[in-house]
Symmetry: C2
Amino acid sequence: MHALIVYAHPEPTSFTGALKDRAVEALIRSGHTVKVSDLHAECFNPVAGRHDFTSVADPERFHYQSEQEHAARCGTFAPDIKREQERVSDADVLILQFPLWWGSTPAILKGWIDRVLAYGFAYVDGRRFGTGLFTGRRALFSVTTGGTPQRFTKEGVYGEIETVLYPVERLLLQYMGFEVLPPFVAYAAPRVGDAERQAYLDNWEATVLKAMAMPANREKPDFSAALAAVGSGAWGTQR
Amino acid sequence: MHALIVYAHPEPTSFTGALKDRAVEALIRSGHTVKVSDLHAECFNPVAGRHDFTSVADPERFHYQSEQEHAARCGTFAPDIKREQERVSDADVLILQFPLWWGSTPAILKGWIDRVLAYGFAYVDGRRFGTGLFTGRRALFSVTTGGTPQRFTKEGVYGEIETVLYPVERLLLQYMGFEVLPPFVAYAAPRVGDAERQAYLDNWEATVLKAMAMPANREKPDFSAALAAVGSGAWGTQR
């Protein structure tokens, strides 16, 4: 089995980095293969724009989904996006590793999501959720936060972690068709001691290997067939 | 009264741009003042890093909150962050105008949130929610989405819009102390006709003016006093 870890942290020696390293070691030791998209190290540009494409559908007006559809049909995504899309379609299991910043993904990861998971690659009209292009694949995310577990409860000030992570789980991963495993959350990461830190790393390793052990749909999505099946601009054109 | 509109869309002629323009016109016509942070036009860099600061707290290891606290105490935030922080503290009402991408803010806006709303400016230890530095100020957000209202219901595939926007409303705006008004959502924006488009613009204008008409706490937060009141590294240091 092959995993892709999309890793978003500016500091290699961070605990987020340690979780990423532990997953890589465990996967290799278990005979799996793994690729890491280290967004900060690779200087990934998170800003959406015409630089996403080597083609132009409408030079007058930039409509993002129209340009994404055009690039998907013509194979004209920019090299950085093409590279990341290949990494995603090669992966049996997709792992997002990030610190929870303002209740969500850091901007560099959100930009990876916005730009790489484009119309015509991540979804097409009528191919979402149960009929999503990545149905049968598995995704999980691993999050670090300064917040304590008590704060992430129904009564806590932050609310339940499932509610906080809902947009990523439901409107991104499940939307694409992924089977999303329960999130791994390292609470109070800046505050816990070494023993708890080690326990988090051990639990994360077990979680990752469990995800890999389960069978997955290993067929790559047929993006061109999915695109051919839908008309152009099926999502409408904002004016 | 003075408003700040943080606007995130790559295409000026988009409907998101039209909503921003309508708000600006209405505010000026009503005798208010308004500033727009046009993130794409201003080439805002959403990636967090040492370039956020003109000072260094720890040259060995980059711990974001430590560097933010150091910059807040020394007044050494980078010029782009300092400029945006001044815009935020000058505003009686903060308006976020963005298209819903993957159930959240576009990366360029998330990066504005990550970098500008720094420790020591947006919050300090013990000054969150009811005791937040922006208590008494008002915030509202205006969102465009291709999704229909039916999809954003408890039974709909996307779930209730309040759940989707929860992280922004609760873990960002309310966290900072803002009184958050109900979100304005332009559903199915790429699909509706001109009449519905006009109705959205008129409703948005009414929403914005209503927000400005209500009394607000106009005192600027005393960041240095708040910082002086807490010890250094109160949030812990991730290792």
